[in-house]
Symmetry: C2
Subunit: 387 residues, 2 copies
């Protein structure tokens, strides 16, 4: 186990009806709010009205930023920065899924930065200060509700890049399982895949002796495998929704990675190129890429780790590590497929025309990955495997 520092400052308000408790949490940190959200879904469900009423009842000044899209764009970030500056806003309330939360984070940092906020994504600038953020999460997937990460797309360059800073951790996040009841089958399954992929990224490292981290990771994966199909079939099953929501938050709040290397993250890097070009749902892209990545990097030296996951998560009992690992990969692919996710590029009508381009873009800052350092050619080969 490696040395680590761990703290998770975000206050989690978990459970049905918890949105009602946001006002004291907001006024602890700010008084003039940017209310950021996506399309119309929160208007359909009534959540928008509930939040607006709460703000109005307490006479909290707020300005709206709406229309934040999946794979959130720099256009929304720039618009949010402008709104915050023009209206002297001092708090961002993000209501939605990972895209809305990530957009809010880029805005929170961008307000204090003279240049364009895209600079954070290309490592030209680092976050020195940020507005406080509160979130009301409507989708179990991102983990963004309890960490300092954000992923933003640049529509002009078809790039999708990440930023990270402890300053971007939300001060509070509402996790109400009932707010996820209206998530459809596709996005529920994509969310489950996203959660599992976060755990995979942190699990697949060369670290040894991380028994606690491995055991917690395996537990949360088993929760996804148990609750994912239930949530897909019974969207209003509170137990399944609640456990997925909490698992998704714990998957990426620092707990599973503490004491380990920084995670592999090659699959996310590869998927970001897919969804930057094809605007694919992130979780669907991960369902396609992860099994292909696993098959590509598996070798006799690292097979013990793949086999550990296969045995403890998928219940595979084969004693040979390579054989167990391969069966584990098959099990992952079958599981993703069983909940309605695509597991090949063909299924989402992506052909081989951009594979070389995506390989290059994924490695624009150098090789990606930790289990195996991947070059542009490796990435292209993985995508070819995923055809």
């Amino acid at each position: 186990m490696k040395n680590f520092n761990f703290d998770t400052a975000t206050r989690i308000l978990f459970g049905k009806g918890k949105t009602d408790e946001i006002i004291p949490e907001i006024i602890r940190s700010g008084s003039r709010v940017l209310l950021a959200y996506g399309g119309g879904s929160i208007k359909k469900t009534g959540l928008y009205n509930q939040v607006v009423n709460l703000l109005n009842n307490d006479r909290i000044y707020f300005v709206e930023l709406n229309g934040i899209q999946p794979n959130p764009r720099m256009k929304s970030v720039r618009e949010g920065v402008r709104l915050c500056r023009e209206n002297k806003l001092d708090f961002i309330l993000a209501v939605g899924g990972g895209s809305v939360l990530d957009c809010a984070k880029a805005i929170a940092a961008g307000v204090f930065y003279d240049g364009d906020a895209w600079d954070f994504m290309i490592k030209k600038a680092s976050v020195e200060e940020a507005l406080p953020i509160g979130t009301i999460l409507t989708l179990a997937a991102t983990g963004s509700e309890m960490n300092g990460n954000a992923v933003i797309s640049n529509e002009e360059t078809s790039e999708k890049r990440a930023m990270s800073s402890a300053l971007l951790r939300p001060v509070f996040s509402v996790l109400d399982p009932e707010l996820t009841f209206s998530v459809n089958r596709w996005h529920t399954a994509a969310g489950v895949t996203d959660i599992m992929s976060h755990i995979f990224e942190l699990y697949f490292t060369p670290d040894t002796g991380t028994l606690v981290q491995d055991a917690l990771s395996e537990s949360l994966l088993r929760i996804c495998i148990e609750c994912g199909p239930v949530a897909v079939e019974e969207p209003e099953n509170y137990v399944a929704r609640a456990n997925l929501l909490w698992a998704g938050t714990l998957a990426l709040n620092g707990l599973l990675g503490a004491g380990k290397s920084a995670g592999d993250w090659a699959t996310h890097a590869i998927e970001h190129e897919l969804s930057a070009i094809y605007d694919l749902t992130h979780g669907a892209g991960l369902a396609i890429v992860f099994p292909a990545w696993m098959e590509y990097v598996l070798n006799p030296e690292n097979s013990w780790r793949f086999a550990k996951l296969a045995r403890n998560v998928w219940g595979i009992e084969v004693t040979d590590d390579m054989a167990a690992a391969r069966q584990g990969i098959d099990a992952a692919r079958e599981f993703f497929s069983s909940i309605g996710m695509p597991v090949s590029l063909k299924e989402v009508n992506i052909d081989d025309s951009q594979l070389t381009e995506m390989g290059k873009k994924a490695c624009v800052f150098g090789p990606v990955g930790l289990m195996k350092e991947l070059t542009a050619e490796d990435v292209t080969a993985i995508l070819r495997k995923a055809l």
Copy 2:
């Protein structure tokens, strides 16, 4: 799953050599330090010198409170309060195991309270303000390093009582596995038992649908079962010590209980009476009481939960819940015994002369426990089972 709020403000500095990083953490919160510790063990290991040198090098004023005993006494608390007031100290650095940490917490609150700090323990007063606390932990057991709980003994009345407040959560805690290398077999085993007991207390509730919490609890129990015997046999096994240390912290930092009822805690209440009268090591008392408690409260209605633990932690494959539960209880008793813990009162030379008295004292504020509300007579019956 119940609604819950969750935040864990304590900053964890985990790993070998992390003591070297305490100064910036201290000066963020204070400048005049009460250095609290126990007997001579930290002087033998060199930790005392290391800490004193760090404080001196940065010219941080400090006053020492030493001699804090296992099952920490009000005498030390009162002395600490006096020292803080007389020397206008504004920070407490607790170096040791749970007893030192708990004593530091009672002092931290007592400084701001006009009456005697024992009032917090008997619910005559609640914590309104507290000095910030930092800890350097030398024993994997307590969980006190990342929560707001403290247990104090009153030597005049032979009582042992708990207090709790979010204000008492340490601002930082150093968890260096190497600092636990010198813990002897007995205290290592007692620490493992303490960790497992904390998890049991939180696991055994009537809650349903808490899949994440149950799975994480079971994982941490399996870590204790795997690493406990290794740490007992190979005191300098870093992997075993590190995973026990981190498991012990996560066992009682709020994670396992979030979304559940408050935990059963009857066994701790009963054990506190044992160690208040007989000054028994807390973990040893728990090893004696917990299996007896389990046997006493098990019934066909709650057997599903005992059976779940038996299957997922002890690997018992019996299909009948009552039978599986009973085998799980036997497995717990055998495990405690295998690492050198007593599992009957006879083994620690405690007879039946005080059983009635302890029953009464355990229930002085009313019945204890959640799985089954226990009266004084029930407690006495459990202790009799443990003879």
